[in-house]
Symmetry: C2
Subunit: 418 residues, 2 copies
């Protein structure tokens, strides 16, 4: 069975004005790529009947699968249906089931249905109609001469279920046991991009396009791509992962969608340990990330955001003399904060961050971005110094990343894992 390619079409003037992120485009790109359909173009066009028509025609001309989203709303702005009638050459007819569904939806909400909404029950004659549980306008599928045109409404929370539950099965049937392209992302913390590159430079060079590097805040992602039959792709990616873990060791913290806070959570749970957090410059972000993980209440006891010195003294029992002597941004105070929160919360671990997030508050001796991370366990405290050179929010992000990484490193040590 032949490999197929696709074009993604986003419809909506707002996308051309930068007002909205093109969430659908990215989701569809990832989803199509994931089942081995190569996306060759993404096109965005405004709510203009003529332009939508031309874009859809060109897309059907240069790709076997076209997935378009947007412009199916009830207002005058929404021109996709008209363009669709032009492209398919079929008249628009009122789809009874859809109309009934829309009427029921309004009745359930006890809202009078505006007449304009009826428009959303129009479909090109002969199109396959995909019922939309999460909105008004249905999805539409049009097939002709081996080409597949899918049109979905714009809201991302409607696109995702429609695509996953109803479009994907159609595409997979077409693809059969054919070629797959899959990607795996190996995520690294604690090494700079250049250090990662150095360790795998031969792999990057030997297989250009197969291995790629991407630097994120406090993380480096190594992305490997494999293609072949469904069965072989998995084992190829496994082999790549083993090779990369071999080179990068402990610096690898996770794979694909795994987030550092999830990995830290899993380690804490595995070891039956608890943690408490004391933050200054990261201002709650460390705790926010920890508590994003479902079930984190099992291992996370409390978080203190001690912005003022008084809060550091009262809530973390940091001696005021220590702050006077070394300043609030110092290894000594970081260690006292970590030990203090651990002692008061009666947890196994305490982690603390103190620093200068900026833009104000820096001095020559203690510049903006200077950050101390401390980790306390029953053996005592250890600390790390960092100097971030970003804007306030990115400095916060890096600080939270390094704090979570400090917890991860400490947990790896105690398992005796290398």
């Amino acid at each position: 069975m032949k490999a197929r390619n696709a074009e993604i079409v986003g419809i909506g003037t707002e996308l051309l004005q930068g007002a909205l992120e093109d969430t659908n485009g990215r989701f569809l790109a990832e989803a199509l790529h994931g089942i081995g359909i190569e996306v060759v173009y993404r096109t965005t066009v405004g709510d203009d009947r003529w332009r939508i028509r031309e874009v859809l025609r060109q897309a059907l001309d240069r790709a076997a699968v076209v997935v378009a989203t947007g412009g199916l709303g009830p207002t005058e702005d929404d021109r996709t249906l008209d363009a669709l009638a032009d492209v398919t050459g079929r008249p628009l007819i009122l789809h009874g089931e859809t109309l009934k569904w829309i009427e029921e939806r309004f009745a359930r909400r006890r809202v009078t249905m505006p007449q304009s909404v009826r428009r959303q029950a129009l479909v090109p004659k002969g199109a396959l109609v995909l019922p939309n549980r999460h909105g008004t306008a249905p999805g539409l599928v049009w097939q002709k001469r081996g080409r597949l045109l899918v049109v979905l409404p714009g809201p991302p929370r409607e696109v995702r279920p429609l695509f996953t539950e109803q479009v994907l099965p159609i595409l997979l049937k077409g693809t059969g046991r054919g070629r797959r392209i899959r990607t795996r992302t190996i995520k690294v913390c604690g090494l700079f991009e250049s250090q990662v590159e150095e360790r795998i430079i031969d792999l990057l060079r030997a297989e250009p396009g197969t291995v790629g590097l991407l630097a994120r805040a406090g993380e480096v992602h190594v992305r490997v791509t494999a293609s072949g039959t469904a069965g072989r792709v998995g084992s190829q990616l496994d082999a790549w992962e083993r090779k990369l873990r071999d080179r990068l060791g402990d610096a690898v913290f996770g794979v694909d969608d795994e987030r550092l806070e999830e990995v830290v959570g899993r380690l804490l749970r595995l070891q039956g340990k608890t943690v408490a957090v004391a933050e200054s410059c990261t201002g709650g972000l460390v705790v926010h990330r920890i508590t994003n993980v479902p079930g984190s209440s099992e291992y996370f006891e409390r978080g203190i955001v001690a912005y003022s010195n008084r809060a550091k003294e009262e809530l973390l029992q940091v001696p005021s003399s220590l702050i006077e002597q070394h300043g609030a941004v110092s290894p000594e105070v970081a260690c006292a904060m970590a030990a203090g929160v651990r002692r008061l919360a009666k947890t196994d671990l305490g982690v603390a961050v103190t620093g200068i997030a900026g833009p104000g508050g820096g001095t020559e001796a203690k510049p903006v971005g200077l950050t101390y991370i401390a980790l306390a366990d029953r053996q005592g405290e250890e600390w790390y110094e960092h100097r971030f050179r970003f804007a306030r929010e990115e400095n916060k992000l890096w600080g939270s990343q390094m704090a979570l990484e400090a917890v991860r490193r400490s947990l790896l040590k105690t398992t005796g894992k290398k």
Copy 2:
């Protein structure tokens, strides 16, 4: 001078695989829209010389300005230069100044320059070269028969300064005192989208395309667009803003990029008041948002993330009997948390959130998403009940939004503002 339109072209196979958000596309869309150049298409294409060439040719055919980004790197993957030679019909020549700049860059970093990097100093003969302070490859501008082709390297932190400092002046010269399109976003909190719609339905209907609604987590954005000469556009938008504020009153919290946490911060500063936060289900997000604002240390004293009941008792002096009697997720405990953190932090205001973020922890009586917000000031406490119906992280976001909104409402009351 005639209005001009533009096409934005993103080059890079990763963009087609959904691995990266198309940050540049969105930035350029917003920037071009902002100076009154209508973006009519956005196209994304992979690193394929033939396809890049065809896309650029088509773009030059249907738009007066084409801004392309990506594919100028040193590796074999990067095909934009070759395609550019095809499109312009000019040979690639080595640009002496660029080569010198690249060599110096490597020398400064004490890194041996790989031969492949020399490739980045190639430019089509006759193109205008834009020096790139933030990277290796320069930007390129090609002008022919009233059409303008701009090609910039892919990294967003190179695109932004290159575009703003060097491309924008060229475009503005072309646009002259011509037509401008500008947009203003009026941001609303405390009303549902349907409530906002109801209050301004006549405006939405009377001027389709001029006024649009967008629902975000806990916010509704009303977006108005005006066009005309530079001078008139501003006064049109001001008139719109007055009209909308008239209809929506206090629910309008800000305009354009202003964030709720910034508005709250400004009110606190204006009134010389301080705040402390006690969170449970939002897990630090309220404090994270407050401390994202530069200078927040002036009015923010401390934040307590009291995940465990023990932490609520120890750190906020919530009586254990209260938790036993009403449960941790209750108006009573929310009020006790707000009053407790205010009393201990000695701040003017105390705000608290307690709820069930999910996915676990819900019961029939207290389902996932149930959230209480309490606000304490010297007159006592008041509380709000919410029921969010989202996933964990979105529930946290809504909770933080409603907590900040509670602070804003309370501050508006004390100023006697309507």
